[in-house]
């Protein structure tokens, strides 16, 4: 008689609630490696968040704009369309426009966009800053203020600015995204620092730093696997937090996502290819252990959601 050699899990990923009211979403809570349902539970299946930008993107492929063409100049309408037409469960508002290396929009201008988006949708929102420590320290604190009561996930928090943003997030009761550069120990250290600051366990999410397909995906893949291994089998309680991957921007900016079939016939249809570059990467992150993946194209998202459903469904 064959007996499955099972892993003895000693830990459980903490559950974190995003958003408020009826459409709030619980993530995490798993007691096994991803989709290893023969030896544990995934009470909350992994979720996909729809990416929305704070301004009209000027460098997107036409086939990325296409599903949102009527709303892409209006972040609130864009977010609403994600929810109403594409049934988004989570919105990830990417504050690209505030980036000092880019458009460098002033804080209050961006904050008013955040406010509009928050008011336009009833699903949970993740607000993703610029990854510029100084700008985010100011910007994300204001975001925390204007989103009071909405339980909005705010990040990325780095070792440099976690105190400023973390303290404000505690005051307004928002979850935070602890961001570390593809390193288990640094991830753990930042989570400890956040705990010391007073951020509650059910308010911490891990941003492991996400690499795109062909551009360092394997680093993220292995760091996520190691995070989950530590949390689930090595009683490392400071790594028992859900993982969020900000994937879309890493995929859609690459050369291989921009070339058309005319540019390089061997790469095939550009729209389908980019959708598959995005969804194959998302599958890799989910299989490694991501709890939330931020994605761009509604068709990639639909494909990945179908896969999540099949990987977690009982019976043939």
């Amino acid at each position: 008689m064959f007996e499955i050699s099972k892993v003895k899990y000693t830990g459980k990923i903490k559950e974190v609630t995003l958003g408020s009211g009826e459409k709030a979403v619980i993530i995490g809570g798993e007691t096994c490696y991803p989709f290893h349902l023969f030896e544990g539970e995934m009470p909350n299946t992994p979720k996909i968040a729809f990416e929305v930008w704070d301004f009209e993107p000027d460098d997107w492929q036409d086939w990325a704009i296409e599903p949102f063409r009527d709303v892409i100049g209006n972040p609130a309408a864009w977010a609403r369309k994600c929810v109403e037409v594409f049934h988004a469960e989570i919105i990830a508002l990417n504050l690209k426009g505030a980036d000092p290396n880019g458009k460098d929009r002033v804080v209050e201008e961006v904050v008013s966009v955040v406010k509009n988006v928050i008011e336009a949708v009833d699903v949970p929102v993740i607000v993703w800053g610029t990854s510029n420590d100084e700008k985010d320290a100011v910007l994300l604190r204001r975001v925390a203020e204007v989103c009071e009561g909405k339980n909005v996930a705010i990040g990325p928090l780095s070792e440099k600015n976690y105190k400023h943003i973390g303290a404000t997030a505690i005051a307004y009761n928002h979850p935070v995204l602890a961001s570390s550069p593809i390193d288990v120990n640094l991830a753990k250290q930042l989570n400890i620092l956040l705990g010391n600051l007073g951020v509650k366990d059910e308010k911490i999410l891990i941003d492991p730093t996400t690499g795109g397909l062909g551009y360092g995906l394997e680093y993220s893949y292995s760091v996520i696997e190691r995070d989950k291994m530590a949390g689930l089998t090595q009683e490392d309680i400071k790594l028992q937090y859900p993982i969020v991957c900000n994937l879309a921007q890493e995929i859609w900016k690459t050369k291989e996502a921009k070339l058309t079939q005319e540019d390089d016939p061997k790469l095939g249809d550009e729209k389908k290819r980019t959708i598959l570059l995005e969804s194959v990467s998302a599958m890799s992150m989910l299989i490694a252990g991501a709890d939330v993946v931020i994605m761009r194209h509604p068709e990639s998202i639909a494909l990945v959601q179908e896969m999540i459903k099949e990987l977690t469904s009982r019976g043939i």
Binding site: S5, G214, S222, I275, S279, M283
Partner: protein, 445 residues
């Protein structure tokens, strides 16, 4: 289970003859234990000792070869469950399905696709390597498929339920070492003999894991060693879990009957090529040896080849790009010159963004031992003197008329040092992030 040096020593003749090039049997035993020597170097070991040693040193998952010469692939041979524990060794092979129901043009185009879908990527070519030829009742056509396949260089999987027809097919392409698919409880004896007679790898198709184990046990007893497993599950969840259960049984449970690579069939699990690609991506990550696809299209196979490249990259080795000058978008003597480190990811991203900009440029890649710009700078490997002497020696000066150099934004603090090292040059500080390179180059003067 691996033996210790002392355990191996007990099996050796203990004569210290030195013919193995080690001074003593004990030294040789220690070298064997750390895989630095081969047992064949000892001419005096008994057959029994050799058998014990080779059994003990057999990898927990057998490595199986399919195909020949340039397109020979190895699958299995893996020793870990997670790539970070060491590395994954043998990439899964991608096969395109070609069936005897297809018309000539379709068949021809499918063979052509294996050749067409090849992609150059720094120091390597990404390409699928197998054709899966399927018999569904048109015997003559199936045989003509096999004949066509041996005119091409690719590895072959023969999918055929009729033993006599399989025999004909194997006879035609035996030199190619095709994978015979598949031995079942009904035909295990016959196909076992066939595989043994032609020395070809044999797939085993059982209804579930226990039946697969039963079949491999029978075949191993017959002396057929190169096996590939199929548990028959075609649901996404079951099939994915089977891969994990099998790998774990072989590595953790030391289950010899499951110590073989697997074959998977995304082509039989959905009608949509998009979804099929995602199913295949699960098998790339988790443990398939062969992945049979219904079709190869650039848009579907390319993402899978990239994913396979990433997952099978050795995490123990830093990824580096060769030091040198890389011309992008056909630069001339007036084109801008950028310098960066030789960390592969940096190179990929920087060169990709320069290409995106469509501005002809020279990219100088300096050896920083695989460190990124910021890390290399912190480690003292991306400083004024090293950048300066590299620019003087690398040959870029002969290619350009101007004397301007763009250094990465993250290395802005070495600006003064580089200016000192390169008198007469205008040193310019580029953006910190590669994504801003196109905008920067468009404004460049």
């Amino acid at each position: 289970m691996a033996l210790t040096g002392i355990q191996i020593f007990k099996l050796l003749p203990k004569t210290n003859c030195g013919e193995c090039k080690y001074p003593t049997c004990l030294a040789f035993a220690m070298a064997l234990a750390s895989s630095k020597a081969e047992i064949d170097a000892c001419p005096y070991i008994t057959d029994e000792g050799r058998l014990q040693l080779s059994e003990a040193s057999a990898p927990p998952i057998r490595q199986v070869s399919i195909g020949s010469s340039d397109y020979e692939i190895k699958i299995g041979g893996e020793t870990v469950l997670f790539r970070h524990e060491k590395t994954f060794l043998n990439q899964p092979g991608f096969a395109i399905l070609i069936s005897d129901t297809m018309d000539d043009a379709e068949i021809e185009s499918r063979f052509e696709k294996v050749n067409f879908c090849q992609y150059d990527r720094i120091g390597t070519t990404l390409r699928p390597e197998l054709v899966a030829l399927k018999a569904t009742g048109n015997d003559e056509r199936f045989i003509s498929l096999v004949k066509k396949a041996i005119e091409k260089p690719y590895g072959i999987v023969l999918i055929c339920p009729i033993i006599s027809l399989m025999k004909k097919a194997v006879e035609i392409c035996k030199a190619r070492k095709p994978l015979i698919y598949a031995a079942t409880t009904e035909n295990v004896q016959e196909l076992g003999f066939l595989a043994k007679a032609f020395n070809c790898p044999l797939a085993v198709k059982g209804n579930g894991i226990e039946e697969v184990m039963h079949l491999t046990e029978q075949l191993t007893a017959m002396g057929v060693k190169d096996l590939v497993l199929d548990t028959s599950s075609r649901g996404v969840r079951e099939s994915f879990q089977d891969q994990i259960i099998i790998r774990r049984a072989a590595l953790v449970g030391k289950n010899k009957q499951l110590g073989f690579p697997t074959i998977t069939f995304p082509c039989e699990m959905t009608d949509s090529l998009m979804k099929e690609t995602l199913i295949a991506s699960c098998f790339v990550a988790k443990y398939a040896g062969i992945i049979v696809l219904s079709d190869f299209k650039g848009e579907s196979i390319f993402p899978l080849l990239l994913q396979r490249l990433n997952i099978y990259t050795d995490p123990q080795r830093p990824m580096t790009t060769e030091q040198g000058i890389y011309p992008i978008n056909n630069p001339d003597s007036a084109s801008p010159v950028l310098i960066t480190c030789n960390f592969s990811l940096t190179y990929f991203i920087v060169s990709g963004e320069i290409e995106n900009s469509r501005i002809p440029s020279w990219l100088c890649v300096m050896d920083t031992e695989g460190l990124s710009v910021l890390t290399a700078w912190a480690a003292g490997k991306f400083l004024g003197d090293s950048v300066g002497s590299f620019i003087k020696k690398c040959g870029i000066i002969e290619k350009i008329e101007h004397r301007k150099l763009i250094i990465p934004g993250y290395a802005a603090s070495i600006l003064g040092e580089v200016e000192e090292e390169l008198p007469g040059w205008e040193i310019q500080v580029g953006p910190r992030e590669a994504v801003h390179i196109p905008a920067y180059l468009k404004m460049w003067k």
